[in-house]
């Protein structure tokens, strides 16, 4: 069975560093202010590692992941 993952972003905590869009551009984007936009809330299993990496790299700790 495929493992499920739920990604949440906190735009209030986001400081627009853009690390997420850099390492996981298929899941995260940035608006004009640089704030995070979540493109995919439940990424497929082949994207789990990069979603985790984006969460770890986020300096504002604005990405949380539920597995």
């Amino acid at each position: 069975m495929e493992k499920s993952m739920k990604v949440r972003v906190d735009r209030e905590a986001c400081i627009g560093a853009g690390q997420c869009a850099l390492v996981a551009g298929s899941i995260f984007d940035q608006d004009d202010e640089g704030l995070v936009i979540l493109l995919v809330e439940t990424p497929g299993e082949d994207s789990h590692a990069m979603a985790r990496k984006a969460a770890t790299l986020c300096p504002a700790k604005a990405i949380s992941i539920e597995e």
Partner: protein, 390 residues
């Protein structure tokens, strides 16, 4: 998968860099034992909000946590909170903590730094340093009963604290021996801009002077300056830099002259690594070992060392990223603005409070800063990073 037995990895320090190392070990496939020893008596938390949202009261302290007990258990990490590591023996590959010996296969030093104290006074009821969540909450707890705040030091922490408490309506006085405030890696290029921002917000700037004496009363602190001026505040916050927590390594033989000296992959000695604020990593591009006390470096070093221990593969470390918010001005910086190089405005204008600027060595951008200008900052940063990587 049941973790393999054996001593495994010990991480001394349970803050951002230490915890990130543990996460990275697991995500890179490490199945051995991981133990974290943290001197603080709480779960790992994030420091940047302390001088911003926590002081302002817009976030609860729970929102600063970077790990729940559930996550720690899921990662199969043994997290010993409230336990400092007391010493290291390289010969026997052991550390001592709380009077007990713990053997390791790999040790990751992530003990961080602590706030530097003024020689004049120890922190007490009305005088604070600022490093931990407990420090921030202690000041926050007094905030409704105070009207005036003194801040000694005008680095990033002093600037952010002064901005936060001033926003809350407190009368703030900043004292520093340097002529203008200075943010890390900015090479002084935005210092006069920050100084103007404080003046415009009625902060009393006592620059270019030193402390003669500090005397603490029951409900206030009196400060006398070397230039003869004197003033009184309800509380005094001291932000004059940091001291690496390396005392426990004194007899280990590791170079701790200014933090723990490491090679470009974070190795300080065989089987021993250091990450985060306590570490001074060799930088091939700078040709020197640099102590980078910032959030993005702590994260990247933790990721790199965890991955290296688990797989033997080295990771590239990106240029440091730094951000701050002072009186609503959103400041972002990648790389380093060099003090001796001219500052070039690439977009917007300094007078209009919206700009992107950089310093160049030859045609190579050394660092780029954005001031209330996110989109253009990201465009320039991308160009710089592409060049640095290509």
């Amino acid at each position: 998968m049941a973790p393999a037995r054996g001593p495994g990895v010990i991480i001394a320090g349970g803050s951002l860099a230490g915890f990130t190392t543990a996460q990275s070990l697991r995500s890179s496939g490490y199945t051995g034992r991981i133990q974290i020893f943290s001197g603080e008596d709480c779960l790992p938390y994030n420091r940047p909000p302390l001088s911003k949202q926590i002081l302002l009261g817009t976030w609860s302290s729970e929102k600063t946590l970077i790990a729940t007990q559930e996550l720690i258990d899921k990662l199969e990490v043994e997290y010993h909170s409230g336990q400092n590591v007391d010493s290291l023996s390289i010969e026997t590959q052991e550390i001592t903590a709380g009077g007990n010996q713990f053997e390791f296969e790999k040790l990751v030093i992530a003990t961080g730094v602590r706030a530097r104290q003024l020689s004049h006074t120890a922190t007490s009821k009305r005088t604070f340093t600022f490093r931990t969540l407990a420090d921030a909450l202690a000041i926050k707890g007094l905030i409704d009963e105070i009207k005036t705040v003194g801040v000694i030091g005008s680095g990033v922490l002093g600037c952010e604290i002064a901005s936060a408490v001033s926003t809350l309506g407190k009368k703030v006085t900043i004292v520093d021996q340097i002529p203008l405030p200075n943010l890390p890696m900015t090479g002084g290029h935005v210092s006069s801009k920050i100084h103007e921002l404080f003046i415009a917000n009625q902060v009393d700037m006592r620059m270019n002077t030193q402390i003669e004496s500090i005397s603490e009363g029951e409900n206030s602190v009196s400060i006398e300056l070397k230039d003869g001026a004197a003033f009184e505040v309800d509380i005094l916050i001291i932000t004059i830099g940091s001291v690496a927590n390396t005392e426990w390594l004194h007899s280990s033989g590791i170079d701790i002259s200014n933090g723990v000296l490491c090679d470009a992959k974070g190795e300080a000695a065989e089987n021993i690594f250091a990450v985060g604020d306590v570490a001074r990593w060799w930088s091939n591009s700078a040709g020197a070992a640099l102590k980078r006390e910032n959030q993005s470096s702590a994260i990247e070093q933790g990721l790199a060392v965890g991955h290296f221990i688990a797989t033997g593969e080295e990771s590239a470390i990106s240029l440091p990223f730094f951000w701050s918010e002072i009186f609503g001005a959103k400041i972002t910086l990648t790389g380093t603005l060099e003090p001796e190089l001219p500052f070039e405005v690439l977009h917007g204008s300094i007078d209009e409070d919206t700009f992107v600027g950089a310093t160049f060595r030859g045609d190579q951008m050394t660092g780029v800063i954005g001031w209330n200008m996110s989109k253009e900052f990201r465009q320039e940063r991308k160009k710089m990073e592409e060049r640095a990587n290509g």
